[in-house]
Symmetry: C2
Subunit: 260 residues, 2 copies
């Protein structure tokens, strides 16, 4: 028996850049499959297009909510394959209707030595001294939390829409790049820290930069919403692995009020 | 006679989502058309797909360098049109070979009142006390600087890869959203401040979030590279208009050493 996340992000190759999978309800937040989980499913298909399998940068536009419990078809196509980077486009559809439109660059992380700059992780209380996500979002059915353990630090200032904490799979699956696509979207929206739980915060677009392969252990996250206008906000996030290495960065445009 | 930037980003509608234009050398840096100019050309076509014309978030993957002096064809397609947001995909090709792959969401800025959070502009010396971009990049043929006036602040710390300054069109054209796509990519790469002029820094992917329509006048910019590993760096930027309103944010993944 494999890990649950691997089972739920696996895709069947139907040939000609077409892949099939099932969208499970295991990663739902209320009735909606988590966007990071859907992104991971799309990336899983894009990895099969090859020749490179490490995502470097992936942008997802969420066109419509996906339906959990239904099948999905991913079409993926390399628009360019270079000597070190390939660019892949993908669409995830259910019942013939597009749910995610995705573009990403793939390559190999850690292949080149270069001068290094990085962002240091925040100092946080250990996971045992932090609170589960459900404590912050009472009344929300977090099926995601059955599979992902999220421990939120209470330390952040009340005057900033900033969330920090820890995350890992409950079944002991070690983190990898695909997991980071889930983890950047698995903390409660940081705007809740400032405005309270203002309802569903649908993502229009999520871009993830993958910076390094994470080592096993807890992943540390920091998410900040510093820019909200027109009911549209930008949340910027970082993830670090158990060694304190910056492993992923994210930025998403989300709606404070569902408009569509 | 119109403004040069409008002439050079105009596209002819060939029907069925196909648009034609000329890529001029007026916005070159050495032999290469500036990536922000190419992004603006693509967005110009995407705006014609409608029904919404304000870009909200646009991601560009630069597949291959474009050729100045040649014609280009843009194909653009709405993958979803909602009540307030449309998602548009585009490819910019020359001689049948893709140069840019683009996805963006379009809507209407300023339509909704909401709580507001924003990022304040840095305090900078006035443009007259700043230096032209060419002073920072001696030996580079900056045809871009014939049309865009960029004034760099010398204030930034030597220990950070951070660039701040001012930008505007030389011919007096007021800034708009399309101009912001150019301006986020028109300052010298901020990594030069830390490592010196290390050569061409090709962009793999650029994502721009458009936050507000700029008022006429100088646009202020700040760009920071805080994350470099494997020879791949992330530069994060912000632009503010003459009133100090945050008008655009950018993030790009670029190569320190050309790999491809």
């Amino acid at each position: 028996m494999g890990w649950r996340f691997d089972e739920d992000t696996a895709v069947d190759d139907h040939g000609n850049g077409r892949f099939g999978t099932q969208i499970t309800g295991a990663w739902n937040i209320d009735a909606n499959p988590n966007g990071g989980y859907l992104a991971a499913v799309a990336i899983s298909a894009m990895q099969q297009v090859g020749p490179y399998t490490d995502p470097l940068t992936v942008t997802v536009h969420f066109l419509r909510p996906a339906t959990s419990g239904g099948s999905a078809e991913i079409t993926a196509e390399a628009v360019r394959t270079g000597r070190r980077v390939s660019t892949v486009r993908a669409t995830l559809a259910q019942e013939g209707v597009g749910r995610l439109e995705v573009i990403g660059s793939f390559g190999q992380l850690g292949e080149t030595a270069s001068p290094t700059l990085t962002v240091s992780p925040p100092s946080l209380p250990p996971p045992a001294e932090c609170l589960p996500r459900s404590a912050e979002e009472q009344g929300v059915v977090l099926r995601l939390e059955d599979h992902v353990e999220t421990r939120m630090s209470a330390d952040a200032s009340d005057h900033r829409a900033e969330t920090t904490g820890w995350i890992r799979f409950r079944d002991g699956r070690p983190p990898d790049l695909l997991a980071l696509a889930l983890f950047v979207d698995a903390f409660p929206p940081s705007i809740f820290r400032l405005l309270g739980r203002v309802g569903w915060v649908p993502t229009i677009e999520l871009t993830v930069h993958f910076r390094a392969l994470p080592v096993p252990g807890w992943v540390r996250g920091r998410f900040l919403t510093d820019d909200l206008t027109d009911g549209r906000m930008i949340e910027t996030g970082e993830l670090w692995d158990a060694d304190g290495t910056l492993v992923a960065r994210s930025r998403q445009l989300a709606l404070l009020v569902p408009l569509d």
